[in-house]
């Protein structure tokens, strides 16, 4: 199958769109529109762009407030949902400097969806959408591609977040995606109108903080999340990276439609929720 593929660099990673079923020139223009959308979102969501909305939020004085464009509000609301669902194993603002009197159950900022405003409760807010922004941008790109008439597409951000809709082939099984376990075995996960995201340590073993403790997490080597949207999958995979097994299973049981997979201490691949079946019986090949 040689559907047209298009590449781009943004948000410090590479992006690749696979767009079958259209005239290649049309697909190219759609991809270009999609990548401009990613760049635009980076300009709003990146905390490393001085005038981005997130950078401005991070410079708010205590009690300061800021009007959010719709995408920033939507991304922050999604982040709030995942934060609540994972009891702050995912927390986009855990590095913030909190005033001593702020009750621990309150996050260092709040959102007013009606007036589109963010208000800081922190001495210094430190919002970082690095673990949800790429996924959010994938969701926006998927919307844009649907608007351009695509009924099937595969969207990849840095091979750490993948979103697919429609079918790769006539077989109706969605797009082939997969998890790579500890000893290099690839476990097939068909992806259709859903997103798969992974988090893992690399060889240098960078430290990941556990937002709940502010201490380096006792991490497993790798974790994945499957979710209806890429923003959720992106954020959830970060949470599954630091959560204990029973808590991961709890999240999957509480939220239908969510899947988790992770490498256990003994190197075995475990799964829960919508990823349980794939982990148990998915086709295995050498990656």
């Amino acid at each position: 199958m040689n559907a047209p593929r298009f590449q781009h660099e943004a948000m410090a990673t590479f992006w690749e769109l696979t767009l079958p079923g259209a005239d290649p020139a049309y697909a190219r223009q759609a991809a270009q529109a999609a990548f401009r959308e990613v760049d635009r979102l980076e300009g709003e969501l990146s905390r490393f762009i001085e005038h981005s909305v997130i950078s401005r939020a991070n410079r708010l004085p205590p009690g300061g407030t800021l009007t959010l464009p719709p995408d920033v509000l939507a991304c922050l609301l999604l982040a709030a949902e995942v934060s609540v669902a994972t009891e702050r194993a995912f927390d986009p603002a855990f590095r913030s400097l909190r005033p001593p009197e702020l009750p621990p159950e309150l996050p260092p900022y709040f959102l007013d969806p009606e007036t589109h405003r963010l208000t800081s409760r922190a001495e210094r807010l430190d919002l970082d959408l690095g673990a949800v922004g790429k996924g959010y941008a994938l969701d926006c790109v998927a919307d844009l591609l649907r608007e351009w008439g695509f009924t099937t597409a595969h969207l990849n951000a840095g091979s750490s977040s993948v979103l697919a809709f429609g079918d790769e082939s006539a077989a109706g099984a969605g797009w082939a995606a997969g998890l790579v376990d500890g000893d290099g075995t690839r476990v097939a996960v068909p992806l259709q109108d859903a997103s798969l995201s992974g988090s893992g340590t690399d060889e240098q073993g960078e430290h990941l903080m556990d937002p709940r403790t502010g201490q380096p997490a006792a991490v497993r080597p790798r974790a994945w999340a499957l979710a209806p949207s890429a923003a959720q999958a992106d954020a959830l995979s970060t949470a599954f990276f630091v959560l204990e097994e029973p808590q991961i299973r709890e999240v999957c049981a509480a939220y239908p439609g969510i899947g988790a997979a992770w490498l256990a201490a003994d190197g075995s691949l475990r799964g829960a929720g919508t990823l349980a079946a794939a982990v148990a019986t998915g086709q295995r090949t050498r990656a």
Binding site: A12, P70, S83, L208, S229, S237, T238, A254
Partner: protein
């Protein structure tokens, strides 16, 4: 985990949450304090041209207190609907129009219009709005012709209404600080002898549009467009605009004039349509201006390249015998360097004009953005190309400018426009100065075509 939020594809909260209704998310949700001026102070504003820039202006203007979008206009329903929806999300009662004439005739109590249509429409729409008694914020380039730009200056004068042209760097606090404190008061650059400036961008494909969103041919022609391709890619065609020299160069060449407080006396330039097959305008150009200033001659070079992202993006680099100042809308490219022969700069640190090296915005960032710690692996297509480090490490010899732009990049320029309407604040880009910049930019294309040096008199820059 009581009160579950179902995970659907979109945020549950953004579509259905009323304040406090979702207990589980309650810690993140609360009512914001009232802000901003209400009442008599409100300005009714409309946008004409709802493309990429029109939406940027809408987003930059909405947080400004007392701005109420009463109407929007675009001939393309696809863009019109999108912007109308955006404004309505923020409770602006924006009434949609296809034709700007209907908007001007039918919007009650309209104070001002923001014009962000392709350049060839600026003069007609600006003049009509001024005649209708509205203040106008018009995007750069003011017009694609000198006559068009002149008609705008005259109309503003006659109507006694304000017109601001969208050279937003002039309102950027970092640019203002650089001009007022570093260059003029502190004279840190000594005598400015040269400028170099550039905008480099990689090859980009022509713009398209979703199937089913084409404007019917008769309507396109009514509004002056040959076809959908030209309508979407107007920048590259002579009928509608001035190509990259005006599209990108306008911002920076305007800053040359603004920083020096002078207009050039000559221009020599070379450029061509050397790469793109279906464009009319020069896709690359090299330009040299001579500026007479009270301190002596400044020779200024500018280049715009549209087939490479190499060479450091976009900046305006002012070089003097005691220091050099590299300005950019992107703070990453902004830097200040001291010549060894210059007087010590410590006193300017004490005065708050500059920052010691490695302490400002340019200092190296400790973490990589967008990266979860570690490598994340999914089986999928292999990665292409390396990831890029978003922040370059600051140079040791470099000094920093202690000013941060704390708003969307167009917001200060819009605020200046609204303050001018409300309180008589002087405009940062008034018609006569915008006219001089438009002439400077438009002469470049003329110089390229003529293949010889063009010389100017001060009179050429006066409408």
């Amino acid at each position: 985990m009581a009160d579950l939020i179902p995970f659907t594809r979109r945020s549950f909260l953004s579509t259905s949450a009323k304040l406090g209704a979702v207990a589980a998310a309650a810690p993140y949700i609360s009512r914001a304090a009232e802000v901003g001026a209400k009442g008599a102070d409100t300005l009714n504003v409309a946008i004409i041209g709802c493309g990429e820039e029109g939406r940027i202006l809408a987003n930059a203007a909405m947080p400004i207190p007392g701005i109420r979008f009463a109407a929007v206009c675009d001939i393309w329903p696809y863009n019109l609907t999108r912007t109308e929806r955006l404004l309505k999300k923020f409770n602006h009662p924006a009434q949609p129009f296809e034709d700007y004439k209907d908007l001007l005739a039918n919007t009650k109590d309209l104070d001002a219009v923001l014009i962000a249509t392709p350049d060839f429409m600026h003069a007609e729409q600006t003049v009509a709005a001024l005649k209708a008694g509205k203040h106008v914020y018009c995007e750069k380039l003011m017009s694609n012709t000198v006559e068009g730009a002149r008609s705008m200056v005259l109309a503003a004068r006659e109507a006694k209404k304000l017109m601001q042209v969208g050279h937003q760097r002039r309102s950027n606090p970092r640019y203002q600080h650089a001009r007022e404190k570093i260059v003029r008061e502190g004279k840190l650059l000594g005598r400015i002898t040269n400028i170099s400036g550039q905008w480099h961008r990689a090859v980009s494909d022509d713009y398209g549009y979703p199937n089913g969103q084409a404007i019917p041919e008769a309507k396109l022609q009514k509004y002056g467009y040959a076809n959908m391709h030209e309508f979407r890619n107007w920048r590259w065609f002579r009928k509608y605009a001035g190509g990259p020299v005006s599209d990108l160069g306008a911002h920076q060449i305007d800053i040359y004039n603004w920083m020096l407080g002078s207009n050039p006396r000559s221009c020599i330039a070379s450029g061509g349509v050397d790469y793109y097959k279906n464009h009319e305008w020069y896709d690359n150009a090299y330009i040299i201006f001579e500026y007479p200033t009270k301190d002596g001659l400044v020779r200024a070079q500018y280049q715009v390249l549209t087939t490479t992202s190499a060479g450091g993006g976009y900046h305006e680099y002012f070089m003097g015998d005691e220091g050099a100042l590299k300005m950019s809308e992107n703070p990453r490219f902004t830097k200040l360097y001291r010549e060894a022969r210059a007087p010590e700069w410590e006193p300017f640190v004490a005065k708050g004009y500059i920052l010691k090296p490695e302490t400002g915005e340019g200092a190296a960032a400790p973490v990589k953005p967008w990266e979860k710690p570690g490598v994340k692996k999914l089986a999928g297509p292999a990665p292409r190309g390396a990831t890029v480090d978003v922040r370059e490490t600051a140079q040791l010899s470099a000094w920093d400018i202690p000013v941060t732009l704390d708003k969307a990049i167009h917001q200060p320029h819009l605020e200046n426009f609204f303050d001018a309407i409300r309180k008589g604040t002087p405009l940062n880009c008034p018609p006569d100065e915008a006219f001089a910049s438009a002439v400077t930019v438009l002469k470049v294309n003329e110089a390229i075509a003529a293949k010889k040096e063009l010389t100017f008199t001060p009179q050429d820059f006066i409408a």
